[in-house]
C-alpha cells in the first residue's frame, strides 16, 4: 500500500474548485502556509476505496501559469519543483464546461509540465442546460487524459472522480499540446542544461518568471539573465506567441468535441438580473438595502448568542471562584485568562454571521457586480471596487472585514483597505459612545423630530466613514507600489449559494480567528490583569492595612469597603502608576489619570472602557449597570480644580480618541496575520494614534 497520494487541485477561479475540495475532503481540512509567502495553503485529507490516503492541496485559482498576483506564483512553484514539499503525484484539473475554451488554456500549460493529470469537467449540468453538446469521450481521447464529467454543486460525479484518482496512471500520458521548443529553442536548451531540467516547458516558464521563483539561486538567476540577453529574449512577445499557439491547439480539439446548439439560456437570465442589480438607480438602492439588511441581521441575530457566551463565561468565573483555592494563580486564571477568552469568544457570532453573508454574496456572484458598480468611485481614493465590502463590514467588526480583503488582488489597494477599515466605527465603540453622549448631550428634540443624542451618534458614524475615505486618499499618495492595477475580471453567472460551503467558510473563519487572534488577546489580557492587580513595592499591603483598621470598619459597610479598597488599589497598581505618568501627555485633551488608565486598559479592546470606568469610580464591578456608572461619572470632580471631569469638551474629546485610536488587539493581530509584516500593524497603530490625539486636542481646545 502506498503511504500517501498527494493531489494538487488546479483550475480557473469560479470553476467550483473549492466545492470539489470540500466534497473530496469534507471538514477534514487544515489551513497552513506555503513557507515564506502570504498564501494560505489549504490541505484536506481523505481515503480512497482501496485505502490509499489522499492528501489534496487546493492551489490558488488562476487563469494561467503566468501569474498576475503573488498568490498565483505559488502554482508554478509547486508544480515545477520536484524538491518542493508540496510537489504532487497527480494534478486534478478542474475545468468549467460552460467556458471550455478559456479553461483549457490553463490545462494545456499544466499538461506540458509533465505531471499525470485527471480532468474534472465541472458544471456539466449547466453546459447541458445551455445547449452545449460536449463529447466527453472524444475530448478524453484527443487529450489522452481521463475526463470525469461532474456537477459538483449537485455532488454528481464525485464518486467517479475518486475512482478515477484510484485508477490513475503514474505516468504522464497526455498528448503534447504545442511545440514548445519552437518558441525560444536556444534559450530553452541553455536553461534546461544549466538547471538540469528534463522538461522544456518548465525551462520556458522559468525564462519568464526567474526573477520571482524562490527556488533558484542567485548564480542561476544571473546565468539565466545572461542567456536572455545573449538570445535576445522578449518575455511578452514570447508569451503572446505561446498563448496564440495554445488557442490554435484548443480550437482544433474543440472543433471535433463540442457543438453549440443555440444561445445560452442561463446567461440570459443572468443578464436580466443584472439589468436591475447593476442599474444606475435600482442597482444602488438594492445594494444599500442589502447592506442595511446584513448590518441589521448581524446586530439582531448575534445579540442572543453573544449574551449566551457572556453568561457562560460569567458562570465559569463564578464556579472557578467558588471551587478553586484562593490565590494569585486562581485570580490570574479567572480574571486574566477566562476574562480574556470571553473577550475573544464573544465576537464569534458576529464574525460567523458576517462571513456567512459575505460568502453568500460571493457565491451568488453578486459581489463581483458590487465591485463592478463601485470601482470607478473607489479608485479615485486609492481603493478598489472590492473595498466596499470590508468597509461596510467594519461597521460591525474590523476583524472579519480585514480577513475578507483577501479578494482584492492588487497589493496596494488591499493594504490601503486594511489600513482604513478600523477607522469605520465598529460595534465595540457603541457602548462608549452611548455612555458619553448620555452624559453630556441633553435628551432634547430639535425641530420636534431630531433627537439630539441620536444626531450626535449618527454624526460619529458618518464621520468615521468620511475619515476612512480621506485617509485612503492620503495613503494613495504615500504607499508606493510597482504593481499595476488591473480590473480584468470575470463576472460569473448568478447561482444559488451552496449552503454547506457557506457553513464551512463560517467554521473556518471562526477557527482561524479563535486560534490566531485568540493567542494574542489572551496574552495581553494576562499582562493587563497583572498590571492592574499588582503595584510597586508594598503599596497594596498598606491599603489592606488601612481598610482593616477598626475606625474604617465601623464607618463603612463591608461592601463599601471592598469597593473603596479596589478603587484605591487600582490607583496604586502598575496600571494606575502608568495612568498617572501619562497624565501630562493627555491633559491637553481634557483627560485625567483615571481616563488615562481606561485608555491603557482599553488598548486590548475598546469594550474594556466601561468596565474600567466602573471600577475606577468605585461602582459595583458590574459593568452592565450603565446607569450607576453614568451617575458616578457625572458627579466626578477634578481633585485640583474642583470642576467636573466630564464636560461636553472632555466627553467629545474622549469620543474622538476612541473613534480614531487603534485600541483593539484583535484587529492588530489580524492585520499582522494578513500582511505577514509587523511594520503594517505598527504603522496603523501609529497613524491612528496621531489622528486620535490631534482630533481630541482640536475638539477639546475648541469646545473648552
Amino acid at each position: 500500500m502506498k503511504d500517501r497520494l498527494r493531489v494538487a487541485l488546479v483550475g480557473n477561479p469560479n470553476t467550483g474548485k473549492s466545492t470539489i475540495f470540500n466534497a473530496l475532503t469534507g471538514l477534514n481540512q487544515k489551513v497552513g502556509n506555503f513557507p515564506g509567502v502570504t498564501v494560505d495553503k489549504k490541505i484536506g485529507f481523505s481515503k480512497l476505496a482501496d485505502n490509499t490516503n489522499l492528501e489534496v492541496i487546493d492551489l490558488p485559482g488562476t487563469y494561467s501559469l503566468y501569474p498576475k498576483s503573488a498568490d498565483e506564483t505559488i502554482v508554478f512553484e509547486v508544480l515545477s519543483d520536484k524538491n518542493n514539499p508540496s510537489y504532487p503525484d497527480l494534478v486534478l484539473m478542474v475545468v468549467d464546461a460552460t467556458s471550455l475554451k478559456r479553461n483549457l488554456l490553463l490545462y494545456t500549460q499544466i499538461a506540458d509540465l509533465g505531471l499525470p493529470i485527471i480532468i474534472a469537467l465541472n458544471m456539466m449540468d449547466l453546459a447541458v442546460k445551455s445547449n452545449m453538446d460536449i463529447n466527453v469521450d472524444s475530448l478524453a481521447q484527443r487529450l489522452n487524459v481521463p475526463v470525469v464529467p461532474i456537477a459538483a454543486r449537485k455532488t454528481q460525479g464525485i464518486e467517479e472522480l475518486k475512482k478515477a484518482i484510484q485508477y490513475r496512471s503514474n505516468q504522464p500520458f497526455q498528448t503534447p499540446t504545442i511545440d514548445i521548443e519552437l518558441i525560444a529553442p536556444d534559450l530553452i536548451k541553455s536553461i534546461a542544461t544549466e538547471l538540469n531540467l528534463d522538461n522544456p516547458y518548465v525551462a520556458l516558464q522559468i525564462a519568464h518568471q526567474y526573477q520571482n521563483i524562490r527556488y533558484l539561486t542567485k548564480v542561476q538567476i544571473n546565468q539565466i539573465e545572461a542567456f536572455e540577453k545573449q538570445y535576445d529574449f522578449h518575455s511578452q512577445k514570447s508569451q503572446a506567441a505561446e498563448t496564440i499557439a495554445r488557442y490554435n491547439f484548443i480550437n482544433d480539439v474543440l472543433l471535433d468535441t463540442v457543438k453549440y446548439n443555440s444561445a445560452a439560456l442561463e446567461e440570459n437570465i443572468s443578464n436580466k438580473i443584472d439589468h436591475y442589480l447593476t442599474h444606475k438607480i435600482w442597482g444602488f438602492l438594492i445594494f444599500i438595502a442589502i447592506l442595511f439588511a446584513i448590518f441589521q441581521s448581524i446586530f439582531a441575530w448575534s445579540e442572543y448568542p453573544m449574551y449566551l457566551i457572556e453568561t457562560v463565561f460569567v458562570w465559569l468565573a463564578q464556579i472557578g471562584h467558588q471551587y478553586l483555592p484562593e490565590g494569585a494563580l486562581t485570580n490570574l486564571l479567572i480574571d486574566g485568562v477566562i476574562a480574556g477568552l470571553s473577550g475573544v469568544m464573544v465576537f464569534i457570532p458576529q464574525i460567523a454571521l458576517l462571513f456567512a453573508f459575505i460568502s453568500v454574496l460571493e457565491d451568488t456572484g453578486y459581489m463581483s457586480r458590487v465591485t463592478f458598480m463601485m470601482d470607478r468611485l473607489m479608485r479615485k481614493v486609492g481603493l478598489n471596487g472590492k473595498s466596499v465590502v470590508p468597509l461596510i463590514g467594519g461597521l460591525a467588526c474590523a476583524v472579519p472585514s480585514i480577513m475578507s480583503t483577501r479578494t482584492i488582488e492588487n497589493w496596494k489597494e488591499r493594504i490601503i483597505t486594511i489600513m482604513v477599515t478600523p477607522l469605520v466605527s465598529c460595534s465595540a465603540r457603541l457602548p462608549i459612545y452611548t455612555l458619553l453622549i448620555s452624559l453630556v448631550v441633553p435628551k432634547r428634540y430639535v425641530l420636534g423630530i431630531i433627537n439630539l443624542q441620536g444626531l450626535a451618534l449618527m454624526s460619529l458614524y458618518v464621520m468615521s466613514i468620511i475619515a476612512a475615505i480621506l485617509v485612503a486618499w492620503v495613503m494613495k499618495g504615500i504607499i508606493r507600489s510597482k504593481a499595476k492595477g488591473y480590473f480584468i475580471m470575470e463576472l460569473p453567472v448568478y447561482r444559488m449559494p451552496r449552503w454547506n460551503n457557506v457553513g464551512i467558510t463560517m467554521f473556518e473563519s471562526v477557527k482561524t480567528f479563535v486560534t490566531q487572534a485568540g493567542k494574542v488577546i489572551i496574552a495581553v489580557s494576562i499582562v493587563l490583569w497583572v498590571l492592574a492587580s499588582y503595584g510597586p513595592s508594598n503599596r497594596f499591603e498598606k491599603i489592606d492595612e488601612k481598610y482593616n483598621s477598626a475606625t474604617l470598619q465601623q464607618k463603612y459597610s463591608s461592601i463599601e469597603i471592598g469597593r473603596l479598597k479596589a478603587s484605591e488599589k487600582l490607583e496604586n497598581s502598575y496600571a494606575g502608576v502608568l495612568g498617572k505618568s501619562i497624565e501630562p501627555g493627555i491633559k491637553p485633551l481634557g483627560f485625567d489619570w483615571k481616563i488615562g488608565i481606561a485608555l491603557i486598559t482599553s488598548f486590548a479592546a475598546r469594550e474594556v472602557f466601561v468596565g474600567t470606568m466602573a471600577t475606577l469610580y468605585s461602582v459595583d464591578g458590574d459593568a452592565t449597570k450603565m446607569e450607576s456608572v453614568r451617575e458616578k461619572m457625572a458627579g466626578a470632580k477634578n481633585a485640583q480644580t474642583g470642576l467636573p471631569v466630564f464636560t461636553v469638551a472632555s466627553a467629545f474629546s474622549l469620543m474622538m480618541f476612541y473613534a480614531f485610536a487603534m485600541q483593539c488587539m484583535s484587529t492588530m493581530a489580524v492585520v499582522y496575520r494578513e500582511t505577514k509584516n509587523i511594520k503594517w500593524p505598527l504603522f496603523q497603530f501609529a497613524y491612528m494614534l496621531v489622528l486620535a490625539y490631534v482630533a481630541s486636542f482640536v475638539v477639546y481646545q475648541l469646545l473648552k
Binding site: S99, R102, Y247, D274, H279, G283, S368, R376, I488, L491
Partner: protein, 78 residues
Amino acid sequence: MPINISKMKLSQLKIGAIGIIKEFTDLEMSVKLMEMGCLPGETIKVERIAPFGDPIAISVSGYQLSLRKLEASTIELI
C-alpha cells in the same frame, strides 16, 4: 453599417453593440486579455456599462468579462 470603421476601439462601442477583435495596441495588456479569452477573431458584445461610466462588461467566448475603459481602449476591432 459603415464599412470603414478602422481604428474602432472596444471602449467606443455602445451598449448592445457587437464587434470582432482585430488586434491589441498594448502588448502587456494583450497577453492578459488573451488569457481571459479575448483573442483576435473572437466576437465580443458590450453587455452593460457601470453606473459611473466605467468599467464595462462584455461577453466573450461564452462568459462575461468586466474591464476598465482604459483596458478596453487597447482592443481594436475589425
